[in-house]
Amino acid sequence: MPSIMRGTTDNAPGNTVGDMNNSRTRQPPCNTTTDGLLLPVPDADGLPFWEFAARGELRIQACADCRELRFPPRPCCPHCQSFDSEWRRMSGRGRIWSYVLPHPPLLPAYAELAPYNVILVALADAPGIRLVGNLVTARDAPLNSADPSRLRIGAPVKAVFAELAEDVVVPRWVLEEA
């Protein structure tokens, strides 16, 4: 097991991440899906986020001492400097803070889908944390599945989890029904 996993386990109360780490050996990262979309390549601090996403949980790193949430994850708490952290489960709800519609020139796999949307979602549980993602019509729908006219700053959205490759899952977002 790589040392970064041990560090993560040490910092996770309840050993929830540790159980996952022991269950399999992670393959060296392959950068793209078979379609050519980029896969996340976690660093040591970010790895637990992706491990939790792989089982359909949206979790954000928090200080185990002062309880402050922080994103992106990092080794210690900028508020109290504690190195003890936990991963707090979010409701998966948020609102669109901003969005863009990329057009070519893009990497080929993205150019084929353009224009698609990229949204920034302010989490309902932590509005200062804004996750980059895509608004889609369903969990496995493509990046360009949502009608651009449905994009609106302030629109409520809910996380869904799309499996991009084996064991690689990313959160995406669908509009919440009014």
Partner: protein, 396 residues
């Protein structure tokens, strides 16, 4: 030491050991084009030798070098090629275009503290014919790329467009405001024979009907892709008086990395629209004898048009949220409230990580710009907003 400013300071300045102690005495550049045949190293040497010739200083006297961490020609190669002497100071500033003004700031500090006497700052880049960095799917994926790139937020244009959309939403900024920026830069480029867009006027019709790059940003909201190199020479104020051209003093210099800043994807702070320019500006004005209303001309980093209103706010030319409206009524044009990017900037002269903005600032204060602001005595030059940044106040 240096002469006192022509007018009495509006307020007593803070202790400022670097104030006016050094000056830019030479500027040099290669042609700018989408494709230049020569390699980056050769272009770097040409720009540096041109700057030294402009200063009237032999290369053998150069003992300091500064550049960007993204610069691929290193000090060893440059120093031995141009025939520099023993070099006693060299440093590089990070964060792409955020490092432009820091190169001069580092030289000013080194020379003022006696670590060197003749400093050269340079940037050479074949971004026109060379690779687009965002196409590299291997090198850019670790932090923070894991949080952005899998979703197709691939390019700097996408990352800034995200902030631009929010800025439009919060403050009523429109595409016409961004057009005001693009037009001002293009109009100045149309006066500058060295500019890539010298013979290419821009109209509102062209802007509004151009293709999207990342909505809400269109083609003309994006800077050029350029092959080229630039350099400048910095010496002490005393030595500057013996050079070929009137000295352009480094009046104040600052870098800025705000608390809890995240780089170009600054999405996880309380206020993503308050960027590094605010941090650099506080330090910059703190040691200056003058304030924003006294700036005669500004060279503001313009990789993307929305960076201008954001920078106008950060550097204190207007209040938060007023940067877009500031651009109305020709304010950014020659004769306007604050003429900007008088060589054409990154949008219309050349995009060489903002170094052309430094050289144009020097030309303005020498009185030799192709779009001269009459009697200009003070110039603000800024580096990239949206990334850890830097800025200079220059004065004649």
């Amino acid at each position: 030491m240096t002469a006192a400013p022509a007018t009495a300071p509006a307020r007593p300045a803070a202790m400022a050991p670097l104030k006016d102690t050094t000056a830019i005495v030479g500027i040099g550049q290669t042609p700018f084009a989408r494709h230049l045949a020569e390699p980056e190293k050769t272009l770097a040497c040409r720009a540096i030798l041109a700057a030294l010739d402009d200063a009237g200083i032999p290369p053998s006297q150069v003992d300091a070098f500064t550049s960007y961490t993204m610069e691929e020609t290193d000090e060893v190669e440059v120093a031995k090629a141009i025939g520099a002497g023993d070099v006693t100071f060299f440093s590089k500033a990070g964060y792409g275009g955020g490092g432009s003004c820091a190169t001069v700031a580092h030289l000013a500090a080194a020379i003022t503290t006696g670590q060197a006497t003749v400093g050269v700052a340079w940037r050479s880049r074949k971004r026109g014919s060379g690779p687009r960095p965002w196409r590299n799917t291997g090198a850019e994926l670790p932090t923070p790329g894991q949080w952005t790139r899998p979703y197709g937020l691939l390019r700097p244009a996408d990352e800034i467009a995200m902030l631009a959309r929010r800025y439009m939403h919060e403050y009523g900024a429109t595409r016409d405001h961004f057009f005001n920026v693009a037009l001002a830069c293009r109009n100045r480029a149309n006066q500058n024979p060295a500019a890539m867009m010298y013979e290419r006027p821009l109209t509102r019709e062209m802007y509004m009907t151009s293709r999207w790059i990342s909505e809400p940003l269109c083609l003309f909201d994006n800077c050029l892709e350029t092959d080229g190199a630039l350099a400048c020479v910095v010496v002490s104020a005393e030595r500057a008086r013996d050079c070929r051209h009137p000295p352009v003093y480094v009046h104040s210099a600052a870098q800025g990395l705000p608390a809890q800043h995240h780089g170009m994807v600054n999405y996880w702070t309380d206020d993503p629209l308050t960027g590094p320019s605010w941090t650099a500006a506080r330090r910059l004005w703190h040691t200056a004898d003058f304030g924003p209303p006294d700036v005669d001309v500004a060279q503001i980093y313009d990789a993307f048009t929305p960076l201008i209103p954001l920078s106008l706010e950060g550097y204190g030319f207007c209040a938060r949220g007023e940067g877009a409206a500031f651009s109305e009524g020709g304010a950014l044009e020659l004769g306007g409230r604050l003429p900007i990017n008088t060589g054409g900037g990154g949008l219309s002269e050349a995009y060489v990580h903002g170094f052309n903005l430094i050289n144009e600032g020097v030309r303005q204060l020498r009185g030799t710009s192709t779009a001269q602001v009459p009697g200009a005595e003070t110039c603000l030059v800024t580096a990239g907003e949206g990334v850890p940044t830097s800025a200079l106040l220059l004065r004649s």
